[in-house]
């Protein structure tokens, strides 16, 4: 057994992460929805309000985590769905690439938005 250095194999890592992000998302997504539709109504949202929220560090961190986990969860979910349909070889490589890039772009853009709101 000693020859097994790597902590995780791809299959079990992503599987576990998909579940962990899901568990995390349950809480944050519910909070997010509740916060922005019931506590504050969606039609009342404006820059100032968003700014106030985002300036609190806890909220900022939560939202970044939310963004990262949701992106991973969503992108990995889509990838899994494609593999389940039996894509293989080139198509699989392409999917990995496209989804990876899209995910990174999404996170980068999301962080920029958050920073703009928080005024960093």
């Amino acid at each position: 057994m000693a020859e097994r250095y790597s902590s995780f194999r791809s299959g079990s890592t992503t599987w576990l992460l998909q579940r962990l992000t899901a568990a995390f998302l349950v809480v944050v997504l519910a909070f997010h929805f509740f916060n922005l539709h019931f506590v504050h109504h969606a039609y009342e949202i404006d820059f100032a309000g968003s700014q106030v929220r985002m300036e609190s560090l806890g909220y900022y961190v939560t939202m970044i985590l939310f963004l990262v986990t949701a992106t991973f969860h969503g992108v990995n979910g889509v990838y899994n769905a494609l593999v389940n349909q039996g894509i293989d070889g080139k198509a699989k490589r392409a999917a990995q690439l496209v989804l990876g890039v899209a995910g990174i772009l999404l996170v980068v853009q999301g962080v920029r938005v958050a920073n703009a709101l928080a005024g960093f």
Partner: protein, 293 residues
Amino acid sequence: MSTQTPESETESETEPEAPATTDHQQRRMDDKRVRAEARDEAAAQAATEFEGETVELKVFRYDPEIEGKEEPRFDSFTVPFEKGMTVLDALIFARDEYDSSLTFRHSCRQAVCGSDAFFVNGSQRLGCQTQMGDLEWPVRVEPLPHQDVVKDLVVEMDHFYDQMESVQPFFDPDDLPDGELEEQRQDRSNRENIKLSTRCIWCGACMSSCNIAAGDNQYLGPAAINAAYRFYMDEREGEQKRQERLEIIEQEHGVWRCQTQFSCTEVCPKDIPLTEHIQELKREAVKENLKFW
């Protein structure tokens, strides 16, 4: 549409071409005539003959070599119903009485050989284990979905067998107990744990019901994963083999492909909790990998 009714059998009756020469031939010709008459009679009766209930069987037909059957179609057979009649009984009746070319696998008639899994009224079942009386009539019988059809109800099983054998379904302990006639002891509770998984009869119903297996041909499938479970969970399995088996289980097209659709568990004629076993192995794989973290 019914293409092979009892009546149509008599149409193929031809007159003997050559005059009879020997006694023997003469007798056989006579026999033939008698048979033809008997058949005519039976045919005439067939429509009205079955007193009591009859049930209509719609069966998928296909044969790459026979004209008219290359295009898949459904044939109807009217079969007298009796209490206790199974789908397999009805198929045998249809074959023996109406159309001897009706083809399906079957052998044990008691749900142990696993050869007669069909798609009956939209779900995967063993013909011999399914009572006609429990089904909605007419009864529609098709070959298992997701597998290529060889002929009529016979599907290509090779891929299923390959998957079953790819998990190295055999026992391989590191060492055997010393001494003549010494057993490898096994705890009762451990046997209980693996008991259900050992019941699999390789019928392929589960694999056929799984949408993931339909989409991903490399997916091991529920039955093969269950076979791996049977050994992985056996306390007597050798350490070396256990690691090897884990690698098979958690390969990309292994347990992770299962999306917990549960249809495999629902159709398994041996009531094996397949989804549960697959899930347990996923957790085992995660646990094993976390150990080294």
